[in-house]
Symmetry: C2
Subunit: 976 residues, 2 copies
């Protein structure tokens, strides 16, 4: 009796030094429930068991916005309405207890759930408790794997899984990860999934050559060892490749969107076709190791009218199994991925081991899905900076206490931004493979989320500083726009640092004065420079003629304050020099330029006394328009396919201008009206900054263009180069090579492109040149010593993967085409110690300080400096997450940010004392969770673990992090 079903909260007791805690984590299922592996239908050991898995694949935005998909709006673009899918599936599951369904995207499910009556909610809980409705994956979305950063992926998974946990308890916890659609698969995703407690992982897309080999050798099931640093089986994950992408076998699609013949079982009919259907079904051949095969019975936005599917599947099962009486050894059953996985696990077979990843993905010889690594570079950057903003918002919600959410500036929240960021991780969001209006919607959501966070941040900083003066956010500093600094004679700058260690950071502000006095929190004057702002370089949309530059230093997890006052009758701004200097240098680096071309010519690390030849220039590949004898595939949002392997140089020489001040030295380079760059060396920086500006990419010659910058060096790379996986572990890449199969290379450029999420490097025995990026980009090392990164793409044709628009970004403020600006940070080091530089450098780009402004004088009682930490964390430790969980507890993730082989100094275990972490929070208790925070770590038992997981008893407050380890804690806290 459903009405009589009651739900109870689990009370988990934790024994800790700090005392006995009671902690709710999700809800307990009815004790009679038989969800999970127990709810699977029995199979027949002497038969081929065909696991039919009814499912829908609901993109969290693609051709339509996430709202349009939910409601079924704009069906003229694509017929899809998720609200109806869930309505219909629940109805149909109730009609036959044998039926099963899996649901994936919590972004949609959550929204649907909120609109249901409590009796419908009870009904759904019953279905979940009986394993008839099973959640798989269960994150907010099915994230992209090539262009996402692990930080945001962990957040979105946590948010989705938390909802399921709190709503359904253990029966709502997904057992398998399910990335059926992403266009290639990152090793770091597999590692994260393993640490989130998933028993297995299924996906649909891999290189066609890889698929062919695996079919031949029956290696479509494998054990993915997804980390070279974590102790197995921590990052081991059983991985299954689905036989038919995620679609049903040909001829067996019974969705309303399909045209396959239904089963017509009225024997009076002219069109009776049961015998034919059974015969065709039995002819489907399987190339798997076991006597189990999985059939994904569903596809994009299917099951809006689930009756069509289930009615025919019921008949299929009935009529095929009826053939068992005739000796046919086939057993068809409703199943789920976890039920299928359980059967595979029971076979106790050994699976092939996989150590690399599944990039790049090609579905045919000239169809490499490597364009989306760069597609929509502005959106990719906006997503990245939004993550930085969200992390600060989360931190300040914790540090500022309840006043953050409701304070002097009104009601703020981090939830809106969390949801916007979670949605943006979808594999058609940050990937850049959505329609233009959908891309606009993602950006709008992020902007809206940030509005909500700004209120929270203002409240929090008001609480921490004691000042309720209005706080101004200048989100357009990248294009030199900030009305306050442009017009004020006196203002203060609050610099909030989200990292757990102090940072120094150059601040560049648009101003109209020629000289300013800048003082730090102690009232001490700091060096500053005003230089003339070159509009041609900066393409400013503001009114500032000058730029004020000074270096700030901010404490860990805290802020400091600088005051800025116009200096009347000060010196004139630094003027630009119209000849190119042969070199610029600071105390760490020297950069030389070729006086004939204006291009970079060498880079030296003055500390290590190493020098490489380095020239850098900008090029474009002519995007294929599909008019080609080999293939009609054009370049598009997904696909990168240059017409020729030789890119066109934009200009062999650059017009240059330079400006040199004590704070910063810049060489400004112009390559064309649409490509320019500032080569910049700050006084205190170990990295060379290349600030590029590209666009509007001209298309009046009717040629689509894919713009790259290429670094050509004297490093002997021997075909190798290195890219990170989702911002974490680095993988070795080799030109024209794949570690697990004998590659037949058909696209010499596109087939050698890999995703770069945060960094790439080339090295030889002596030198390592690392490039840290400010967003995800595609890149490759085509020639010896060379590293190229694709910056921008403007295309004239759709690439026939569904988006049905050419990637040609023009909009209101960029009617002639999108202009994009970004930064590459170059670091030259000895290979053995390069990570000591690029790990923190990359984190500084990912989590960059937040500048907020206050006009005029601050109240004298204002607290000008604050740190949330009692001390900076050790260099190897990154504070990945600090976020309010509920009223009394916060979620903390600490991360060892070095791989085991990267650094003599930093690749060591490191211990942190959780009780001595914070200045303003009393840590009253701690409990360790799995990575996605939906299971206590000591309860996490995975199929693939042959040995118990190696986690320590948290019997002390000291927790040790090993290389690349992330540990997740729920802290019971009180504000001091």
């Amino acid at each position: 009796n459903m009405a009589a079903m009651s739900l109870q909260l689990t009370v988990v007791s934790l024994f800790l030094l700090g005392g006995v805690l009671t902690f709710p984590l999700g809800q307990e299922a009815e004790h009679t429930s038989t969800c999970g592996y127990e709810s699977c239908h029995p199979t027949k050991p002497d038969m081929l068991n065909v696991h039919l898995v009814p499912h829908t694949h609901d993109d969290v935005g693609w051709l339509k916005t996430v709202d349009q998909y939910f409601y079924g709006d704009r069906n003229d673009i694509q017929h899809a309405g998720v609200q109806y899918i869930l309505d219909s599936v629940v109805d149909q599951l109730l009609k036959n207890p044998d039926r099963r369904f899996i649901y994936v995207e919590t972004a949609f499910f959550y929204r649907w759930w909120r609109q249901q009556s409590s009796s419908m909610q009870q009904t759904v809980k019953q279905l979940v408790n009986e394993g008839r409705l099973e959640f798989v994956n269960g994150g907010w979305c099915m994230s992209d794997e090539a262009t996402t950063h692990y930080s945001a992926v962990i957040d979105q998974m946590t948010m989705g899984l938390r909802f399921l946990n709190e709503t359904f308890g253990p029966c709502g916890r997904p057992r398998v990860a399910w990335h059926i659609d992403p266009f290639g698969h990152a090793r770091e995703h597999a590692s994260m999934f393993a640490q989130m407690g998933y028993d297995g992982f299924f996906f649909g897309r891999l290189d066609y050559q890889d698929r062919a080999r695996r079919m031949m050798y029956r290696e479509q099931e494998l054990l993915w060892r997804a980390s070279d640093s974590l102790t197995p089986p921590m990052a081991d994950l059983f991985t299954g490749i689905l036989p038919n992408g995620y679609n049903p076998p040909e001829g067996f699609c019974w969705d309303q969107s399909c045209d396959d013949a239904p089963i017509r079982d009225d024997p009076d009919l002219e069109d009776y076709n049961v015998d034919d259907v059974v015969k065709r079904f039995l002819a489907i051949s399987a190339v798997y190791k076991t006597n189990h095969i999985i059939m994904t019975m569903g596809s994009d936005f299917q099951y809006e009218n689930a009756n069509l599917w289930y009615k025919n599947l019921d008949k299929l099962i009935h009529y095929v199994n009826a053939q068992q009486a005739n000796g046919i050894k086939v057993n068809v059953l409703y199943s789920t991925p976890s039920c299928y996985l359980q059967e595979l696990h029971r076979t106790n077979l050994t699976w092939a081991l996989k150590n690399d990843d599944f990039f790049p993905y090609a579905d045919d010889a000239h169809d490499f899905w490597t364009g989306y690594f760069t597609s929509r570079p502005a959106l990719k950057r906006y997503e990245r900076i939004s993550n930085s903003n969200l992390q600060m918002c989360n931190q300040l919600e914790v540090l500022g206490g309840p006043v953050s959410r409701r304070g002097p500036f009104g009601v703020g929240d981090s939830k809106t931004m969390k949801e916007a960021m979670a949605v943006a991780q979808h594999h058609d969001a940050v990937s850049g493979t959505e329609k233009q209006h959908v891309a606009n919607d993602y950006a709008r959501r992020l902007a809206n989320g940030w509005q909500h966070c700004q209120v929270l941040v203002s409240n929090s900083l008001a609480g921490l500083s004691g000042s309720t003066a209005e706080r101004i956010y200048c989100d357009n500093l990248n294009i030199s726009v900030c009305p306050l600094t442009e017009s004020s004679k006196k203002f203060s700058v609050n610099v909030y640092n989200p990292l757990a260690r102090p940072v120094t950071w150059p601040v560049r502000l648009p101003v109209n004065g020629t000289a300013y006095v800048v003082s730090d929190a102690n009232g001490k004057s700091v060096d500053s420079q005003v230089s003339f702002s070159t509009r041609e370089v900066r393409r400013s949309r503001g009114f500032a003629v000058n730029e004020l530059v000074f270096q700030v230093q901010a404490p860990p997890l805290g802020y400091t304050t600088y005051s800025v006052s116009l200096l009347q009758n000060g010196p004139p701004p630094a003027s630009t020099q119209h000849h190119t200097p042969t070199a610029i240098k600071n105390k760490f680096l020297q950069v030389t330029f070729d006086p004939d071309t204006g291009l970079l010519s060498s880079l030296s690390n003055l500390e290590t006394k190493q020098t490489i030849k380095l020239t850098q220039n900008f090029y474009w590949y002519n995007a294929s328009d599909g008019n080609n004898v080999e293939s009609i595939q054009p370049s598009g949002a997904y696909i990168f396919r240059p017409n020729s392997s030789t890119p066109f140089v934009i200009s062999k020489t650059a017009k240059t201008e330079s400006i040199q001040t004590p704070a910063v030295q810049e060489v400004r380079q112009w390559f064309s009206p649409w490509v320019s760059q500032v080569v910049r060396l700050y006084a205190d920086s170990r990295a060379l900054e290349l600030e590029w500006t590209v666009g509007p990419v001209p298309i009046d010659d009717d040629l689509g263009k894919e713009v790259i910058t290429r670094l050509d060096t004297s490093i002997q790379t021997a075909q190798y180069f290195y890219t990170d996986s989702n911002g974490r572990e680095v993988l070795q890449r080799k030109t024209d090579f794949r570690p697990t199969w004998n590659l037949k290379q058909s696209e010499p450029i596109a087939g050698n492109y890999y995703p770069i999420n945060s960094r790439a490097f080339i090295k030889d025995d002596d030198d390592q040149l690392t490039v840290v990026t400010d967003r995800s980009q595609g890149g490759g090392s085509i020639n010896n010593g060379s590293l190229e990164i694709m910056l921008h793409r403007r295309l004239l044709y759709d690439d026939v993967r569904g988006v049905a628009e050419p990637l040609n970004e023009t909009s209101g403020i960029f009617p002639k085409g999108l202009v994009v600006r970004g930064r590459l940070l170059l670091s030259l080091d000895r290979p053995a110690s390069a990570a000591d530089a690029h790990r923190p450098l990359a984190q500084e780009v990912v989590l960059q300080p937040l500048l907020t402004f206050t006009g005029g004088d601050l109240h004298p009682n204002t607290r000008l400096e604050f740190s949330g930490l009692q001390a900076a964390l050790p260099p190897a430790v990154h504070l990945l997450t600090l976020s309010q969980w509920d009223k009394d507890s916060v979620l903390l993730r600490l991360e060892h940010q070095f791989q085991s082989w990267e650094s003599k100094v930093n690749s060591q275990p490191v211990t942190v004392n959780l009780q001595k972490l914070f200045t303003t929070l009393d840590v009253l208790g701690v409990s360790e969770l799995n990575l996605s925070a939906n299971q206590w770590k000591d309860e996490m038992k995975r199929f693939t673990c042959n040995s118990p997981p190696t986690f320590e008893d948290p019997s002390t407050w000291e927790v040790t992090l090993r290389p690349m380890e992330i540990r997740t804690f729920l802290l019971k806290v009180g504000l001091r």
Copy 2:
């Protein structure tokens, strides 16, 4: 509690002379049921009440076959699956008791019902009993009105309504007729609907000029007085014209097949649109007389996923009615056509009176739907002959008793043929507006039905005759194929006459002998002639070189038998003469020919001594290809649009040949390789037969052709001519004129075409030339004295009304294009007595004798002659229906076949004694029913009846029929 719901049989007591009978007629509803008018939602008298009517329009075949539609097969052609519609609607009705749905086509519902579990059947009964699911129309299909014969329409309505009655009882009885899609509306249909007890009639299509005028004068509701012979209100029917065809208002279509925006009522949404939807809804204006408007919320094959519709309609009702609190005087409610009708009825308003019909239908100035009157002439003929076969099958099932269904030739049935004929009445079936493969399917069904009937007929005739000798059916006599007669030296011919009066009939058999002896049932020799069969005329597919012709006479509702023996050494066959005779004549008629042209030149009735000039020839209109300045409308399956109003003559002269024998005189005319004709005068016939053969219509000139024959006479027609309505009452037509509005004629030919179902005539004070057709055809009288009939159409373009195929019939046996043969029967009479000739003549064509053959000698005990009637019925009375109803009862329909003004002799009331009707049946009791046999006549109470219906108390066995009256009886019978 549904499970506890029980259903009881109604026992209706009938008091008759014959005694007290108990009779089941349908099932009684639960006494708590509130179906019908009682179940309507209340309305608000001070507001505009908007009746939302959720509905689906399910064509019983069109672009897909009826089976394909039911199962949802071939969704590549059109997405449509009726099984899912009914599944889904029932589910959704259960979710909210306010929701309503109407269902129309019993052909589909019946099939779905059979597949449901008994608990689902109980659930559906509950919905019906509560008025939440209401049947409207309720026939097997929604019949075409332009090309159907009333006999088949009554049958198909009876079959559908009987199923509803027996399944659901009174709550299943439709209250309104619902012809939302047929392409023009016949007066006879309205008359039939009135006599079937419907309270009102709704349709969607009418001439665009008519619509405009009615909107202006608020006459979209009207009282249709649908007979000029029946006493009002017998054939009066309230008729409502739906505001938007049968579609929802623009922007409010929420089916899965539509793209309109759903109601997005989450206020957190960017896309929140409730205010906009409400505003747009309130802007819909109504042009009706009352404060009620109806909105058809549905369309073709909609509600396959009813959740989409209902979820949004629930919201629409909620949000619009919420505006009442703000003073908006609009009240939206779920409703049905009968609930809407009830509200109109309550207003007690007077409606405009209508006496004519709604033909022809034009939806724009050059878009006259008058092509389908003739489209697919072979299918139209096959449907008509199939009706004849079915009536005989029904009759012989009654006359032969139980042995008919299970006898010496196996198991036979009439049900298969009944269903095939019912399906063929659909407005995309006999109309010819379906795709080719669907037309083939209708023909296949009829053929299959006839196979089942043949077994029954053989069993029945075996029982009646006492002979179990094999009985051969020669269905291809029209193309001179009958293997038995072609090869046998001795055989017998059984001639079954389905009419209730004796007939004489010419028999033409393909033979290879040159002379035969033919004897009647008494052994008396009858005249016969063998003539040489002209292949060029007959396009025979058989092997016969000669043709045996003799006249047969068959008793009423019975058979007689002729034996045929080859005469060795007989005379040679009659030879043809290659000169044209100037005249042929028999004792009734004389026909003259123009010796120069070979064409007819005059026709004389020798009895009445009247003569008219009459020339007849064949022409073709060049079908518009849409390439036209006035309109891009081409001719197609629906639309007739000649490129020019002047048709091309096929040949000004005919090559002729004649054959004259005592039995028959023929002039054979050749006009071209693809048009020929036999002008034929039988010795005993009062009608001149024109047997035309047209095809393959040549299209190698890339011109679509619409072939007509035109009769040009000396009759002074003064723009008038006359056509029948569905084979019954005759309506006056006038060129370039409509009785109810001031016509602006834009298509001088197509706009003057009307459907001819069985006859058309032209007349003046002295002469009436009547043409009886053998199938439905289109025709017109463009010029004075002229009558043209379209015979065949072959077109090269689709006419953009959905069928998406040009009407270009080619198939396996006609790879070069369809050849069609047919007959026109001409009768010349004085106007005052013409009906005395054409009424029986037309019935003879509709119900023609069935010839069956037996090889060799018959057993001497064989009963060679039989009549089911004690006496022939009076000339005015037609036996319309004699069909087994259940084990002990038969359905009888007697019809007065003359209009009140037609005949001095026959337009009189006539009385029949039911008990003295049959020879082999004892009539034990009788009860009168409404026309559709789903209600006792004395219980039939209609809205439109201001006076009680004028039916007599059946207190005697004598029943009187007034002109054009059809009376329907259920007879309790026993076999004698």
